[in-house]
């Protein structure tokens, strides 16, 4: 992620400096280093705290803070995780969340890429006007849809299913997907497209053979966003998936007994955030690119 700007900064540093100059430079920046180290710790500690809480025996939560585990590693135990994964309800919730997140990622990308291509490279009346509508939809709060879709799902009979959640996430992921992909596709050199068209390729063929491969970086960014968004969702899941029970709803159901259920809540919450973290660390670069494309634009 922070590849952004790293080169510039490296270039700004003088290449040849005397030892004395170097000492001065480091000394004057010592406070900056200290502040950043402190801030970094501040940002790490809470997540570490949840992890250590999750490996503490349940009966210790009332009496001992999680930091005691650092001094007494013998306190640590995997029994909470053993119990969590042998609990079919939680493993089922994790799998359900995975299905929703995959469906809710693939579908909006597919639909969004098709539309993004149309907005970027197909000429049709009202194109700009329609794109402005899409941009408008970007900020419509999803609360606007909850009540009518609740009724719609009930009358169609798909209320509280994995499908109903995927469809909802698809729709609300679309404005951003179309926006991001259209902006990326429009940057693809025109010559490439024109020569393919002159060769007689159909638009669908161009889309599949040219645009999708060339658009892969943007698609990757979008995929990560969409995956995290659907995986992390609580509001939609709580409204349409009370019994489908994705992981956030499963944890939510335990929250009323926070103190006594901590041995379920802490490991479940940690697992639920470990998966997005893995995705984040694996694809950091794309994540930040998507973020920048989506906001700085």
């Amino acid at each position: 992620m922070a590849a952004v700007g790293a080169e510039v900064r490296a270039a700004a540093r003088p290449e040849h400096e005397s030892v004395a100059a170097r000492v001065v430079r480091i000394a004057t920046r010592a406070p900056v280093h200290l502040v950043l180290v402190a801030v970094g710790l501040l940002w790490l500690i809470p997540t570490l705290g949840l992890f250590l809480t999750s490996i503490m025996p349940a009966d210790r939560f009332d009496t001992a803070g999680w930091w005691k585990v650092i001094a007494h590693p013998s306190l640590a135990t995997w029994q909470n995780y053993d119990r969590l994964f042998s609990n079919s309800g939680i493993t089922h919730s994790l799998l359900t969340t995975l299905y929703i997140a995959i469906g809710g990622t693939v579908l909006p990308i597919l639909v969004g890429a098709l539309a993004g291509y149309a907005f970027a490279w197909l000429d049709f009346p009202g194109r700009d006007w329609l794109f402005v509508v899409v941009i408008g939809l970007l900020v419509v709060p999803l609360q606007m849809a909850l009540i009518p879709i609740f009724s719609l799902y009930n009358s169609v009979g798909i209320f509280d299913t994995v499908l109903s959640l995927i469809l909802f996430h698809t729709a609300f992921g679309l404005p951003f997907a179309i926006f991001l992909l259209r902006n990326f596709f429009i940057g693809i050199p025109k010559d490439i497209l024109e020569s393919a068209r002159i060769d007689g390729s159909s638009e669908l063929r161009i889309f599949l053979r040219l645009i999708l491969p060339l658009g892969l970086p943007a698609i990757a960014s979008l995929a990560i966003f969409q995956f995290l968004w659907t995986w992390n969702d609580l509001l939609v899941a709580l409204t349409f998936g009370r019994d489908t029970r994705p992981i956030t709803v499963a944890i939510f159901n335990q929250l009323t007994e926070f103190g006594s259920n901590i041995e379920i809540i802490a490991p479940a919450a940690f697992v639920s955030l470990a998966i997005p973290l893995v995705v984040f660390f694996a694809f950091q670069r794309y994540f930040v690119q998507g973020l920048l494309a989506g906001s700085v634009k």
Partner: protein
Amino acid sequence: MTAAPPVQEAPPAAPGVLRRHAVTLVFLAPAIFFLGLWIVYPTVRTIIRSFFDRKGDKFVWFDNYKSIFTSDFIVTAIKNNAIWIGVVPALVTAIGLIFAVLTERVSWAVAFKTVVFMPMAISLFAAGVIWRVMYQKEPGRGAVNAGIAVVADGINPPGALSDALPSTASLTGSPATGLTLQRPVHPGQTVALGLTGIPPEQVPGSAKQAAAPKPVGNGIAGVVWRDFKPGGGTPGKVEPGEVGLPGVKVVLRDAQGKSAGSATADDTGRFAFTDLKPGDYRVAIGASTFRKPFGGVSWLGPKLITPALILAYIWVWAGFAMVVIAAGLAAIPRDVLEAARTDGATEWQTFRRVTVPLLAPVLSVVFITMVINVLKVFDIVLSVAPGSVQDDANVIALAMWRTAFGGVNDFGLGSALAVFLLVLVIPVLALNVRRFRREL
């Protein structure tokens, strides 16, 4: 809006045009289906629904909108959301700017940014669980209060005996103000200060069997001890099995109430004041002996819940602001900054007069993004705030959900709240649309 369409080489013949439009439709139809059915249609429905009563049978004009401003539960939500909007976007942008500028000066910026950015990947809901653990009230298990306790107990050390009480009525006062022996004493006399209610782990390790005080000629001697042994014992009497309380500070006051000295009890609990002038004296154990350790700030209580939520929320979003601003910072031409420095501007002047103005567009994007995010804040309130304080922590999005789905099941008022949210984001919507129309 008038930009030339990028592609136009297809033949203008009518069948070709039709074919082209058919192809376009194939590309657009799925998106139109989803956007139309899940966003546009519900938006219209919700607006209409907001003018009907809870069951949807009766047209009630603006009654639901009136309820927004008259129902306590929603008014609290609006007030809280106003605090959120007033505080969070500005703070997140400022913190992001500070972090972005500071990281420019260190070689391990990547590591720092990764750490601060990490919470962005996890759900606000899970982040809420993290902070619920951090905010536990007892300093023994809530890390935030544990941190404060280190400082608070350092400045104001807790007393040796925070839970002690007098064993007989001869000592008056309370642990909060200090305990004073009721009867005046004269030099040559002895005093016995019995305390109970001391848990075994608070008894100092060096404590020995308490010993009755020996009178001193022109002084006052005494004993301060744990007037309790397994099985009870007689209050007010030093008995075998009862231990002294070493380290307790005993103060002596003269008849005018002025301090006439202090003494510390030894391992057997004995202490003595010597070389006293004749007269009436009072013996007391100061309040500092009984000072309780820091008990913890009630972050999850009704008063502090919104600030606590805001802190957790900033923890999540600061990384976003930092990364976006850092990218903007990297795009500032170096020579502009160099020119300012060559002209004799200090670091601060360069920052204030050159960097910040050049960054203004990026800062405003971050700020606006945060305004929208904060308007919709929901998950973190549900996971951090215990059920009993959720009314105090309420925000508009949560009020909407609870009204429509959380037991009240009032779709009319719920719809009105959703529309209220939409109205609040319309300025941002208009801003976005305007910006993009300019670009098209």
